[in-house]
Symmetry: C2
Subunit: 153 residues, 2 copies
DNA sequence: CTGTGTGCAAACATTTTGCAAGCAG
DNA sequence: CTGCTTGCAAAATGTTTGCACACAG
């Protein structure tokens, strides 16, 4: 259903976004552009709040509101340009979806997030789903632990 | 660190709870008992709200408050008697931790949750952690899809 | 008795919504 | 021009906290 985005640059994502907007009769605004641009230039994991603050800082003239950030993130997520993970304590985080699916290793000490992919696990997940009669659409895997640094503290 | 609870019945969990309370100089109250009992008798996945409503219904004399449910769930979770998963849309859910670790298959159609365990995946997760220098303490894996019923609708 | 636990309501944090004005197409 | 989009503030949601009274130990 959803186009595979592989590893896209900003230009391609922007084009993708404009296409989606057009086909839904939505408008391309400077706020939406600023949010997409910020997500692309900072391939980190944002909370709604932290993304809001960064956009505000980088585009002071825009006078953006937090509601717009929420609305745009929902829009981007619905269309597969952004994906989110919900961490327990740290709340929900978003990242630009310009690379293939991956999962997360999360340090409980310093909060660092490492991305990884493991095809063997993915295959086993498919098997589990099949055994239970499920048609898999998505999955979420987060490994919690201590990174090398935090183990020695 | 945490005792393995295997598959315990209510009596054993109750004893465990009382021991934990005593060793922390906390008190065994009828509210705490009612919450533990309700969790045991209904091995489903509760939200704070749904657990609150059920306890309220089953123990009308108790006149329990939602704050007590939150406080007790935190207490139980800290001590490993309850575990929680945070679902995207459906919010956070709790279940009694009287069986060994397992993960969840979640139907996006009807919300049904199926539990499973898969040692092969667990082993691969350990490997991923090791490759990244992580010391694993915990993990979360949720597979989303459509159950057999919902595929045909 | 003592100090922990409770219900209640207020406080909080986060996200959503209604609205009038702004602006893209 | 039209109607989608915005910022703002209010509302809604989910969770935590302060307090005076209750009650377990």
């Amino acid at each position: 259903m959803q186009k595979d985005l592989a590893v896209l640059g900003y230009e391609e994502l922007l084009l993708e976004f404009r296409t989606i907007l057009k086909s839904n009769k939505l408008k391309f605004t400077s706020q939406r552009e600023a949010i997409l641009q910020t997500l692309c230039r900072h391939p980190q994991h944002f909370t709604s709040e932290s993304l809001y603050l960064l956009v505000k800082k980088n585009y002071p003239k825009l006078n953006i509101g937090i509601a717009t950030v929420y609305r745009t993130l929902s829009l981007l997520e619905e269309n597969g340009l952004v994906s989110s993970i919900s961490l327990g304590v740290q709340g929900k985080k978003f990242e630009i979806a310009n690379k293939p699916h991956h999962d997360h290793l999360i340090c409980e000490g310093c909060g660092e997030i490492i991305e990884f992919e493991n095809p063997k696990i993915e295959k086993l997940q498919e098997e589990v789903a099949k055994e239970n009669g499920f048609l898999l659409t998505n999955h979420l895997m987060q490994l919690y632990g201590l990174c090398q640094k935090c183990q020695t503290v």
